[in-house]
Symmetry: C3
Subunit: 249 residues, 3 copies
């Protein structure tokens, strides 16, 4: 769709591997990837509410980047980190969408054609009526509970290697005084595992569990040469506790 | 292979996610995607008969599009919808294939190099002897059985979200008088489920089953925020009945 | 990352489908794919040792190709087949890497930026201190044991079709006098199966097992219209015996 409208546009795919319906994973991947990418028109579509009341949005960031996607929170984390929102419009009745618009594939019928016209130079203001940036849907990123010797968080995402990403920041490890090199207890669904706080998964023996700051600056759990999600039998949304002291039988 | 022969060619991937051996899914995705794409040289390879007696083919459509792939039905649905076949040749002994040709990877050894030369302007007639378009293999797309209050069809494909695509058209729903908003019974493998005929999956509660016209105009089954193929424990080829009246115990 | 540094570079993806941690599969896919590709800067990253003592390397091949990746064996098989190593350097402290460098994502922080600068014309010698090519990590490709009527090998990789690639060359079949058309016994994990030595999987009936020379010139096992890895319940690293005579009960 983009190439028919803007043949000269160059399309860079960040990923097609976001777990179905995981808007939060999509938002975090977008926010963490964009600083490494050329500025452009950024489309993000994880869209479980397509066809329902959720709005499509086009945003212009303070740094000039343009964003297209559903108003379900997938864009705001990225824009917020990169200079904030300078302009927002609602393109659901734009002349630049395809016609007809299906109920289930706005990526094809609204987001791609609108983004292609942006790439060709159509100004944001031409794509729909302005909306109030403060009214955009924000993601509720759940916070971990941190106390000395203990962090209670949960699983935000699992990647294709089985690495488990937690809603725990590197400074939460410091806050709980879980220091590098220490052995900790990881509890998931009433089952406990022994892990090491490490710089990276390669710091532990093959088959062993490492808790470490990943390349996005958040805390992940991995098994060296293995699959942590399988080892811990965990999935997105589950509670995970990291503890200095053994509390499991 | 294409880039070595035609460095200036631009390659657009439609999908690498067709289920193994599902020629019909490949044919339908191609036919439904091409109207949204720039005209060009279109290669489609789902090729369970590679190395056997099935022929490779190059087709020129009435609208000028060019097609390359195995003669197993994957191309004809698309060409048929887009103006019919103006010319067909058989490139198995073309000077433009690679040499040697392997028994299992004609995508690399025949289809890609032939397509690359087409992109560079080699005329179709140079690629091999002409063949009779009416002799091309056609897909046997099974038809659903429709009667008032009941449709008996089956599963054509399952996508990565677990959405189930049926061999049922939107007008079959009308033909069976299964109207939007109605609760219907879905039977798969002697197990029954309650579903709602909806405009889209977002019209039902999370976890509930929707029967709806998808973005290609055919009827699909989805679970809002879930995976219908897992919920219904179904797979490609299975029979699915949609019924107004409850017949299951 | 590449596009920010070298916007004019064209990026060709070979695959994102290597099994996690399977350096050998990555090395073989690279070595078998490059002869069909344009010459360029070739990045390969299957990197279970990232963040540990393994070095990053940049290689210049005798034919002018450039290679970037971890020094874990993933590159040397390809370079060895394509003219050998003319120059090798160690870019871990290069001014061309990103700063900071994470402990777990050298693809982003070292390999991609270094490759992008190579694409822009920075000479290999500018990227780091020279290293001795003979000191590079080599892969230990396990050899099959061949005797008349029998081959004992094992599984190197399984692709998304379930096809099983063995560490067995086409000439090993000849060495064991297992001729095309013959029925052989395949033993995996003490379970035996009947298979046919064939030109390709399409030479056997649907559901039957074929042993054949694949498009890379090595011996694979496939099930026509099926999934051999599931049928044989096998996985990477397992021992597989091919035998003329039935030895299983």
């Amino acid at each position: 769709v983009i190439k028919r409208i803007a043949p000269e546009a160059e399309i860079l795919d960040i990923t097609h591997g976001i777990a179905p319906q995981n808007v939060l994973q999509g938002a975090l991947v977008l926010a963490e990837t964009l600083p490494f990418m050329p500025e452009g028109v950024h489309i993000a579509v994880v869209d479980p509410g397509v066809g329902g009341p959720r709005r499509p949005v086009v945003l212009r960031g303070g740094d000039g980047r343009l964003y297209v996607g559903p108003d379900n929170g997938i864009l705001v984390e990225a824009v917020g980190r990169l200079g904030g929102i300078a302009e927002a419009v609602e393109p659901s009745r734009s002349e630049y969408r395809l016609d007809p618009v299906s109920s289930t594939f706005h990526g094809r019928d609204i987001f791609a054609p609108v983004a292609a016209h942006l790439a060709r130079g159509v100004p944001v203001s031409r794509l729909g009526p302005p909306i109030d940036p403060s009214a955009l849907v924000k993601l509720d990123v759940p916070r971990a509970h941190v106390e000395p010797g203990r962090i209670d968080g949960h699983v935000l995402a699992v990647d294709r290697f089985g690495n488990i990403r937690l809603n725990v920041g590197a400074r939460d490890l410091a806050g709980a005084a879980l220091a590098r090199g220490e052995t900790v207890e990881v509890e998931v669904a009433s089952r406990c595992h022994s892990a090491t706080v490490a710089r990276t998964f390669a710091d532990v023996e093959p088959g062993k569990i490492a808790v470490f700051e990943d390349s996005s600056g958040t805390v992940s759990i991995a098994v060296n040469s293995g699959n942590a999600a399988r080892t811990l039998a965990t999935m997105v949304g589950q509670e995970v506790s990291l503890r200095e002291r053994r509390e499991c039988r």
